[in-house]
């Protein structure tokens, strides 16, 4: 295991992390939103820009660049014969067979990424450092590439930077959650997902709402009581507990809507509506601020605006209760 203390100032980005655990023969995912400092950290570890690399590594930057010449020539750059052979077979597995004879400029963005991936994985190095390895790869190929990448990285010492939870779950043994140049939490991926240390981490991991309270277990489910509010979720916790409510599982409805099968049903007023990419993040005060993902069409239909009284409901099976 390598423990890294790092302090980097690169332009507007500053990263200050103490005690970053990098375990050998495991895949560590650097997870966090865009601009969190993950790439800055990875480049520092890889020794880009004339510094000495922290570890013996094969590093692939976020934007793979192919030099003049054929794709095949680029595939072999920096590799010895044995590595080049392996790169060739990896490239074939990644569906690049026909493109290798072509001029590098003829390759699509996705092909460039796959070529770079094959070359980096083929290199004999103790560590593999990949920055958003699936970023440029289109949906159709993504699952295939992800599966191959997971298989190739298994048992190797690797760091993968991503802001995609699917990728993190598919590839990662361990995760380091990073935001604003700080390490928020690190540990085995399953553990961090199960027990986000802070609400911030839970939000970054896309888990949405975290309610802290006292848990009472009943037949595989737990009621978490926080003040006057009760949240029912799956999990067995007696005592201090956290209920994690995914924002995209929360259903917003009219107050006069009939009851449904959802075990959690609260009434409250909308306190905030903000747009994030294609959906609206609607916050409802139900005794705690509950964030829900709502499509713009649904928001129009419900005539949602700040102050509107609504019901918010979520199935107990969608809520995860963990010990606090």
């Amino acid at each position: 295991m390598t423990v890294v203390d790092v302090r980097i100032s690169a332009g507007a980005m500053s990263v200050e992390i103490q005690g970053l655990d990098l375990e050998s023969e495991l895949v560590t995912v650097f997870y966090g939103p865009n601009g969190a400092g993950k790439t800055t950290l990875l480049r520092w570890l890889a020794g880009v820009g004339g510094r000495r690399p922290v570890m013996d590594c094969a590093y692939q930057p976020q934007n793979p660049y192919l030099f003049r010449g054929s794709a095949g020539r680029n595939l072999g750059l920096g590799l010895d014969d044995e590595e080049a052979g392996r790169a060739g077979s990896l490239a074939r597995s990644l569906g690049l067979t026909n493109s290798l004879a072509e001029d590098s400029s003829a390759l699509s963005g996705g092909e460039r990424h796959r070529l770079a991936l094959a070359r980096t994985l083929a290199k004999r190095a103790t560590w593999v450092l990949l920055d958003e390895p699936l970023a440029g790869i289109d949906r159709v190929d993504r699952d295939k590439v992800l599966a191959l990448l997971a298989q190739e990285l298994k048992g190797r010492s690797a760091i993968v930077v991503t802001h995609d939870l699917d990728e993190a779950v598919a590839l990662g043994d361990r995760v380091a959650v990073i935001d604003s140049g700080r390490l928020l939490q690190q540990g085995p991926l399953a553990e961090v997902l199960r027990r986000p240390a802070t609400v911030e981490v839970a939000k970054i991991l896309g888990l949405g709402n975290v309610v802290e309270g006292v848990g009472h277990e009943f037949g595989g489910f737990t009621t978490v009581t926080a003040g006057t509010v009760e949240v029912i979720g799956s999990g067995s916790v007696d005592g201090p507990a956290r209920a994690i409510i995914p924002a995209d599982s929360v259903v917003i409805g009219h107050v006069d809507q009939p009851e449904s099968s959802a075990r959690n049903r609260w009434v409250g007023r909308v306190t905030d509506i903000r747009r994030s990419s294609t959906v609206l993040e609607v916050t409802v005060d139900v005794g705690f601020p509950l964030v829900s993902m709502v499509t713009p069409g649904a928001a129009d239909y419900l005539e949602l605006e700040v102050g509107t009284e609504v019901t918010a409901s979520v199935k107990a099976t969608a809520v995860v209760v963990v010990p606090a």
Binding site: Y65, F67, R68, L77
Partner: protein
């Protein structure tokens, strides 16, 4: 206008005739300038790559020296070399004053900074993603150089053209260190100076046309070479 017409007719007559004097001057010009360009490029291009990509002590100083060298007046280079090679000078024992060898040395001093400076600009101007990828590949120094030169080939070809342009057009240095001795150290530019001074305008213009043609041919040849260079 009659005067210009007469000069041009004279020049064309000289070119058609192309006597042994002009042939000899042309030969020496090509010999000195091409040799100086080759040496200057062989030293200057790697220096330019190192300036653009390398991280070593004294890089800033070296860069400044190259920039000064790119603009240094040839007359000054000629004078400095004359002092160095003069009988009583530090390298007087080499007996290089007024020899083609000294002219080559002078022109190498003029060509190298140009080759280095233009190459450094071309390599440094590659997209940041290219430079980052180059770093990530961890190539050997030679491997890195080859990839970079192929990638920045048009800029590198421009550096060769610029270096050759500087030496073939230059008159001050070769005049001082070569002495413009007929049949020994006279080149096209110094021939033009001499013929103009003696009001032999036809001969001067003829030499000028030859100079222009050389530049044109070299530019075309290097342009084609630059396009053909591939990553190998």
């Amino acid at each position: 206008m009659e005067f210009i017409g007469d000069v041009l007719r004279d020049a064309i007559d000289t070119l058609i005739d192309f006597g042994p004097q002009l042939t000899g001057v042309l030969g020496l010009t090509l010999e000195v300038s091409l040799l100086a360009t080759v040496i200057g490029v062989v030293m200057g291009v790697p220096l330019g790559v190192a300036l653009a990509l390398g991280r070593f002590r004294g890089r800033g100083l070296l860069r400044t020296l190259v920039h000064v060298g790119m603009g240094i007046p040839p007359v000054l280079v000629g004078l400095l070399l004359l002092l160095v090679f003069w009988d009583a000078g530090p390298l007087g024992g080499l007996n290089l004053v007024f020899t083609p060898a000294a002219m080559v040395v002078a022109q190498v001093l003029l060509a190298t900074p140009i080759a280095a400076g233009v190459t450094a600009g071309a390599v440094g101007g590659l997209p940041p993603a290219a430079l980052e990828q180059l770093d990530a590949l961890r190539l050997s120094r030679i491997g890195k150089g080859r990839v970079v030169l192929a990638e920045a080939r048009s800029g590198v070809a421009a550096s060769v053209v610029a270096a050759f342009g500087r030496v073939i057009a230059e008159v001050g240095a070769v005049l001082i260190i070569g002495g413009n001795i007929l049949g020994e150290t006279q080149v096209l530019t110094t021939l033009i100076v001499q013929e103009s001074r003696q009001a032999q305008f036809g001969a001067a213009v003829a030499a000028g046309i030859v100079l222009l043609l050389i530049s044109l041919i070299v530019n075309l040849a290097l342009g084609r070479l630059g396009q053909r260079a591939e990553l190998s």
